[in-house]
């Protein structure tokens, strides 16, 4: 075991690789990879290491890159700016489109036995109805597809992004459209931090029937390229992620846990077991590893391993 696990706090008595119940569904672990940070899993590729048999080892779910009704080419380059404590991205939900995802990607994840949560976005709340109905129709028998995360908070698209997810009644409509179609899958709503109070959004989502809140998505940010004197990204703003947003994420998570009481899956600057423990300490039922997964394909596997108590004598 790593030195990290030996220093686990005494209050932490959970095995992160034991199952966790989210709504009607039992997922195989509490450390997940965040949407947009691990594509659709490795899609047939693999990563070899001396420490792990597979990058999926110990992972409770891969939350897929967000899928939209139609394929999207994404935003123009450059799409990433690295900063000292994180990165600003403006990918723009590049994805293969919903039908191609159903035909090619999801069956391959199922075949590879990768625990999967499908991230969906749309430009109108009612679109989540037919999308989830179709998902359930196609993947009803899939054992490793565990749920849906509604991305109500991407800052990098013109419509259907975080503005759309800033209104409690719209959030409720999105959840309500999806809920009846997912009787045996976990339904999560991923909320924006780019709002003064997130609790009303979480409350609206919970009342409309979602099983857990995923928080947070990226924080709207901007960087300036000093050689040109212009914003570094073509769309000016992007989504800031990485270690720098962790305190913001913890504050939003705490607000949701205390004011709404709905289960929360914590996201925001988690790269190590210590980072994850802060979210668990606030009451999160699971966590997602995001930007760190881009740096290290084994980041989530390492967090899960280092949170484990086995061998911790």
């Amino acid at each position: 075991m790593s030195s990290m696990s030996r220093s686990l706090p005494s209050w932490w008595t959970t095995d992160p690789c034991e199952s966790v119940v989210i709504g009607p569904r039992t997922l195989p672990g509490r450390v997940w990879t965040a949407s947009g940070c691990f594509a659709y899993g490795l899609s047939g590729h693999d990563i070899r290491s001396e420490e792990f048999d597979s990058p999926y080892e110990g992972i409770g779910a891969v939350v897929t890159k967000t899928v939209t009704p139609q394929s999207r080419p994404g935003n123009p380059m450059p799409r990433l700016v690295e900063l000292t404590c994180g990165a600003i991205n403006s990918i723009g939900l590049e994805n293969v489109g919903f039908e191609a995802f159903l035909a090619e990607v999801l069956p391959s994840l199922e075949q590879s036995q990768v625990p999967t949560v499908v991230s969906l976005a749309a430009s109108r709340p009612e679109e989540f109805g037919p999308m989830t109905a179709r998902l359930q129709e196609v993947a009803r028998e899939f054992k490793h597809w565990h749920g849906v995360e509604l991305n109500l908070s991407c800052p990098n698209v013109a419509e259907g992004g975080h503005d759309f997810g800033s209104d409690p009644s719209t959030v409720a409509q999105c959840v309500a459209a999806a809920r009846p179609n997912l009787p045996d899958r976990a339904l999560l709503a991923k909320l924006t931090p780019n709002i003064a109070k997130v609790a009303p959004l979480a409350a609206a989502a919970a009342e409309a029937g979602c099983d857990a809140i995923a928080a947070i998505n990226t924080v709207v940010g901007l960087d300036v390229d000093l050689t040109t004197g212009k914003p570094a990204l073509p769309r000016r703003f992007g989504g800031y992620s990485g270690p720098g947003i962790q305190p913001i994420a913890l504050a939003k998570v705490d607000e949701i846990v205390r004011e709404v009481g709905v289960p929360v899956v914590g996201i925001g600057g988690i790269a190590t077991a210590e980072d994850a423990l802060k979210f668990f300490a606030l009451g999160c039922v699971a966590v997602q590893v995001g930007t760190a997964q881009m740096e290290d394909p084994l980041a989530a596997a390492k967090v899960a391993r280092d949170l484990g108590r086995s061998g911790d004598h």
Partner: protein, 274 residues
């Protein structure tokens, strides 16, 4: 070229060499826990370890391997490479390699190669010449001036061009002009397989030359990368795709490249028509 690319290894290596090979280029030798084979054109994602870890790894083309030692060539262009230049022997570096698709291997019917390398674009073509070079290949390297050229890595048959004709060592020669100018002498000698790696203007010039001659051409792009293993979609380049209504799509350069058939790139969307 084999269609199956072996999965990359995620390892931590030890720096055993990190020094200048010219006024602007440094060679990094990294001893890994085990040998990691690669194909010319593939790259590694490198990062400092511990508290010095950068948010993203840095992509560097692989120059060579010798047992467990993997070597790279780089230029200090930003914070990451500046920190890398400060690494002393014995320090650790995380390494995810090999990544990406390599340059094509020559077959029995492949015409002689014309290699066009600029600056830090040397490693993949240097490796290609070592691995696949045949008599008749023409290998050309372009540098800023004689001091910028890593002469020790460029024995015969490498030809050298420089933007500024100065600091040329005794016994060596350099052509004053663009690296593509070195190719002029073989234009009438029959077809060539053009392989290019370097700054985008060089790649464009190589692609234009190949298009005008009707020669095959593969270029290795130096896009900024986030993850290097296909998940972040931060390094896309437009490629032609006749299956799609739009006629093009974004390709992920770290996994679908960094080497692309120049005829497949949508140059018009990639900085302007050739």
């Amino acid at each position: 070229m084999g269609s199956v690319v072996p999965a990359p290894w995620n390892l931590t290596g030890t720096v055993i060499g990190n020094k200048a090979v010219s006024s602007g280029l440094l060679r990094l030798d990294l001893e890994l826990p085990q040998p990691v084979p690669f194909a010319p054109g593939q790259f590694a994602m490198l990062n400092l370890t511990g508290s010095g870890k950068l948010v993203f790894r840095r992509p560097l083309s692989i120059l060579a391997t010798d047992g467990p030692v993997m070597s790279f060539l780089y230029r200090v262009v930003g914070r990451g490479t500046a920190l890398m230049a400060d690494l002393a022997n014995g320090e650790a570096l995380d390494c995810l390699a090999p990544l990406g698709l390599p340059f094509p291997e020559p077959g029995p019917d492949t015409p002689p190669a014309l290699l066009l390398a600029g600056g830090v674009g040397l490693p993949p073509l240097h490796a290609w010449l070592v691995e696949h070079g045949r008599p008749g290949d023409l290998a050309c390297f372009g540098g800023r001036d004689g001091g910028d050229v890593p002469w020790s890595l460029l024995p015969d048959p490498w030809q050298v061009s420089v933007d500024h004709l100065r600091d040329i060592p005794d016994g060596r020669q350099a052509y004053h002009g663009l690296v593509t100018g070195l190719a002029d002498r073989v234009l009438d000698d029959g077809p060539r397989l053009v392989l290019a790696c370097g700054p985008t203007p060089l790649l464009r010039a190589a692609a234009r030359l190949a298009r005008d001659q009707g020669w095959p051409c593969h270029v290795s792009l130096e896009e900024h990368m986030g993850c290097g293993y296909g998940v972040c979609k931060g390094c896309v380049v437009p490629v032609l795709d006749t299956v799609r209504e739009e006629g093009w799509r974004n390709a992920t350069s770290c996994t679908e490249g960094p080497v692309f058939d120049a005829a497949q790139l949508d140059w018009e969307r990639f900085g302007g028509a050739l």
